[in-house]
């Protein structure tokens, strides 16, 4: 009986670990291989602070969590600039260092002997020094940690996190701060793992280096993968299965050495098997919009329709934009002025610099020279998410939709100014966020209505038809609330009939006073939609005029085909 309770305690501890790891790997898509290191920090913090410094509970826990969270945040900072493989190797190195320090810094960690005599927790006068007594505390800790992870992932922040997992540049393009999100999720993941570590130290009264190696990280990873990335209940199930399963092996008598190793072999085999047979894990990821109430067609009276903006004013202007890549001049002395209420086209032969111009105007590329102003305010040099918040947003030629999220979620995540984007608000201002969520839902539905995708609101983006995907790109861009909308080939690949359906949507945007700029290669689209067209070549504008003027100009036509 005591043994079964012990197993349950371990399930709780690993439940916390798997949950913390899932936040990082499953929800944020950040492949970090140092979870056992964070676990170790929490365990050693408690062991060292209680045994060597005599600090009481909960001081040791709080310090351990804070320090570990801080280290997690530090790891995140270089992660902003480096691709997946780099993150793997850097976190792996962190793992190695932690093992080395744990094994070698004898005065601090007791080296291979570890630290013994960690005092048990006390509750209601009882010392929690056996599984029966410890279990309630473990369950409580699991409950709290799970609740924290749940709140985090079911908030607007969580939604943005899942979007970031799908496509980082797209998430920047809808105004989210990547660095903030990565630092936050690393800090939370590391902090929760530290809680598990502290618990572990209190339970076993002993902390030793052998518990925190790479095997341990792989063990936790197996739980996350088995249970299902992106599903918190899955992590609990994964933890339960992988802790309990090897215990069943106890019925087969094996020498202890072989028993331990066999457990690990089973984990490895299970991991591979799950990836082959059911990659989404036992519980696949669930869409959070299933929780959202179905809203009927009429808009809620609480959310006013956006007022149409005045037209004819210059909103976004770029002056003398310059950018080269090594020896190649992409954009040279490019001037552009976009007006509200008008649709501007950007055409030109290949390599003329059109997409580069968009990247420069929206902060995705830095300028070598020149300046960009939005409504008189200098926005040169701002980061993409700040530019979006200022009021200039762009779409991508290759869509970059959040394919695993529903159409509704794709739009909702793009809505600006969400209180729930900041993690502290998620925990300290839940009521305001809930109210905002309802408003967001209505606003998102309104946007979907505008583009004609209402009937597909709850459909996953990857299940939409190509034309519907294109409409969703428009919807997502519109949702940012940006006044200036830059579309990069929004209508390519669509046939005539679909184009005829989408044209009115784009025209309506301009009628409402938005500033629209479109890069297009299909000149029918340009003729149909644009009030004014810039002809780009060799990195700057060669001519500005109406579509008819430009297309019928023999010199320009000649240039187009030069």
């Amino acid at each position: 009986m005591e043994y079964a309770l012990h197993v349950l305690v371990m399930v709780c501890i690993y439940g916390i670990l798997a949950t913390s790891f899932n936040l990082l790997v499953g929800f944020a898509g950040l492949f970090a291989m140092a979870q056992a290191a964070f676990y170790a920090f929490g365990a050693y913090a408690t062991a060292i602070l209680t045994v060597k410094l005599g600090l009481p509970f909960p001081i040791d826990l709080l310090i351990g969590v804070a320090v570990t969270a801080f280290i997690g945040a530090l790891v995140a900072i270089p992660a902003i600039r480096i691709s997946g493989t780099y993150l793997v190797v850097v976190t792996l190195a962190l793992q190695v260092i932690v093992i080395a320090v744990a094994t070698n810094w004898k005065s601090l960690t007791g080296g291979t002997d570890g630290i013994r005599g960690v005092p048990s927790l006390h509750m209601f006068g009882y010392s929690l020094n056996n599984p029966e007594r410890f279990l309630p505390a473990a369950i409580l800790a699991l409950g709290v940690c799970f609740w924290i992870a749940w709140r985090l992932t079911n908030s607007p922040f969580g939604r943005a996190l899942r979007a970031m997992r799908e496509n980082e540049s797209a998430v920047e393009a809808i105004g989210k701060d990547l660095l903030y999100m990565k630092v936050a999720v690393f800090a939370f993941s590391a902090g929760l793992a530290a809680v598990a570590g502290s618990l572990f130290a209190r339970y076993l009264s002993y902390v030793g280096a052998e518990s925190f190696g790479i095997d341990e990280t792989i063990y936790m990873l197996a739980m996350v993968i088995l249970g299902g990335t992106g599903n918190l209940w899955g992590s609990l199930i994964g933890a339960a299965v992988l802790v309990v399963l090897p215990e069943l092996l106890k019925f087969v008598t094996l020498p202890t050495e072989i028993a331990d190793k066999s457990h690990l072999i089973i984990y490895g085999v299970l991991l591979i098997a799950i990836l082959r047979l059911r990659p989404q894990g036992l519980l696949g990821e669930r869409s959070t919009t299933r929780h959202l109430p179905h809203v009927d067609g009429a808009s809620s009276p609480g959310v006013p329709m956006p007022k149409p903006l005045p037209k004819g004013e210059v909103t976004l202007s770029g002056r003398d934009l310059n950018r080269r890549f090594g020896g190649i001049v992409a954009v040279a002395g490019f001037d552009i002025a976009l007006k509200s209420g008008s649709i501007t086209g950007l055409i030109g032969p290949n390599g003329a610099g059109k997409t580069t111009a968009f990247n420069l105007l929206t902060g995705f590329l830095s300028l070598d020279a020149g300046s960009i102003r939005f409504r008189g305010r200098d926005i040169t040099g701002l980061k993409p998410h700040d530019i979006v918040r200022a009021g200039v947003a762009r779409s991508f030629q290759d869509l970059r939709l959040f394919t695993k999220m529903t159409a509704l979620e794709n739009v909702m995540v793009a809505l600006p100014g969400q209180t729930g984007d900041r993690v502290l608000n998620v925990f300290f201002r839940p009521i305001k966020i809930r109210r905002e969520e309802h408003d967001n839902l209505v606003r998102a539905r309104t946007v979907l209505d505008f583009v004609g995708l209402t009937h597909k609101a709850y459909e996953t983006a990857e299940n939409l038809s190509y034309a519907e995907e294109k409409l969703l790109v428009v919807a997502r861009l519109l949702a940012t609330g940006a006044e200036v909308l830059l579309f990069d080939e929004p209508l390519s690949g669509l046939d005539r009939s679909t184009l005829a359906e989408i044209f009115p949507v784009v025209r309506k945007l301009a009628e409402n006073g938005k500033t629209i700029c479109i890069i297009e290669h299909n000149l029918d689209v340009i003729k149909e939609l644009c009030d004014v067209v810039y002809f780009l070549d060799e990195g700057h504008s060669m001519a500005i005029g109406t579509p008819d003027q430009l297309i019928n100009d023999p010199a320009l036509a000649s240039r187009y085909f030069k």
Binding site: F31, P78, R81, I82, S83, G84, T85, Y86, V88, V89, V90, L92, A93, L94, V96, I97, A100, V101, T103, N104, W105, G213, I214, D215, I218, L221, A222, I225, E257, I258, K261, S262, L264, I265, Y267, G268, V269, L270, L271, I272, L275, R276, P279
Partner: protein, 289 residues
């Protein structure tokens, strides 16, 4: 001063070991883009295979090395064919191969532990010579490590540059789509690099067996340091892997001059961190896509 000279030589020796590991791992990584963590336990398996051949069967060391290379090549090719290739055909994301590799890592490492026991295995009665050159001393095994690195990397370089298959490998590493366009079977190329890369690890594995003995967990550090050497030196460059490995060995060893031993592996971390932050493409590499 004498200490410095010794540290320098030690750095060269360890660096050569790391360089060779990096060369093997890097060949696989650059060509197939797979983070083959199981490279570690296959390295370990090679060491144990050499032990079996030398200690149990009584074969001479060189024969044991060749046997180990064959075993490693077989394991490496099998891991591609039966683990990674199915995922590749399914067009799974690269994360999946990495996670699968971790699964294989843990399976192999523990299988070896079960079969051979957790205690270290050494070659009985192996006598090695010690050389004293000025103030510096080193053993014949350590000399072997440096020689092995020079000979094997030179041979690998020549193979890649001069033979038809070698050039096919270089082509696939350079531009996999272009390789397909000219008719190279990239699956065959992948199998080949897994075989060669794994076989390459068998030589340092045998030398470590001679020097320190074989333990089941020796693979983790091997794949870790190989990975770091490749990132520091630059992905896709043999020269880079060598430079990265040597640099790591040198910095680690010279670092010992001032830094206590327990911090040794953190030196690798610091070097890695600096390279990733300041020069992500590594010393010799092209920027990774």
């Amino acid at each position: 001063m004498d200490l410095l000279a010794q540290l320098f030589v030690n750095g060269l020796i360890n660096g050569s070991h790391y360089a060779l590991l990096g060369a093997g791992f890097g060949l696989i990584f650059a060509t197939t883009r797979i983070v083959h963590f199981a490279y570690g336990p296959i390295f370990t398996a090679a060491a144990y295979a050499a032990w079996l051949a030398a200690n149990v069967l009584g074969l001479p060391i060189v024969a044991a090395m060749l046997f180990a290379a064959l075993v490693a090549a077989a394991l490496g090719t099998a891991s591609y064919q039966y683990l990674y290739l199915p995922f590749e055909l399914r067009q799974s994301s690269s994360h999946v191969a990495l996670i699968a590799s971790l699964g294989l890592f843990i399976v192999l490492e523990n299988l070896i532990a079960i079969v051979f026991g957790t205690g270290g295995r050494v070659i009985d009665n192996y006598q090695y010579g010690i050389f004293l050159v000025g103030p510096v001393y080193f053993s014949s095994v350590q000399l072997g490590q440096v020689i092995a690195m020079i000979v094997l990397t030179a041979s690998l370089g020549a193979y890649l540059a001069r033979t038809r298959h070698g050039k096919a490998i270089l082509a696939t590493t350079d531009n996999p789509e272009m390789a397909r366009i000219i008719g190279i079977d990239t699956v065959k190329v992948s199998r080949l690099v897994f075989a060669i890369g794994s076989a390459l690890s068998a030589i340092p594995a045998t030398l470590i067996l001679l020097k320190d003995g074989a333990t089941p967990s020796m693979g983790f550090f091997a794949v870790f340091i190989a990975f770091v050497a490749v990132i520091v030196g630059g992905v896709g460059s043999l020269r880079g892997a060598i430079a990265g490995g040597l640099a790591l060995g040198m910095v680690e060893s010279l670092g010992l001059w001032k830094i206590p031993t327990e911090w040794q592996s953190s030196i690798a971390f610091i070097v890695l961190f600096l390279v990733v932050l300041l020069r992500p493409q590594g010393l010799f590499g092209r920027a990774m896509s």
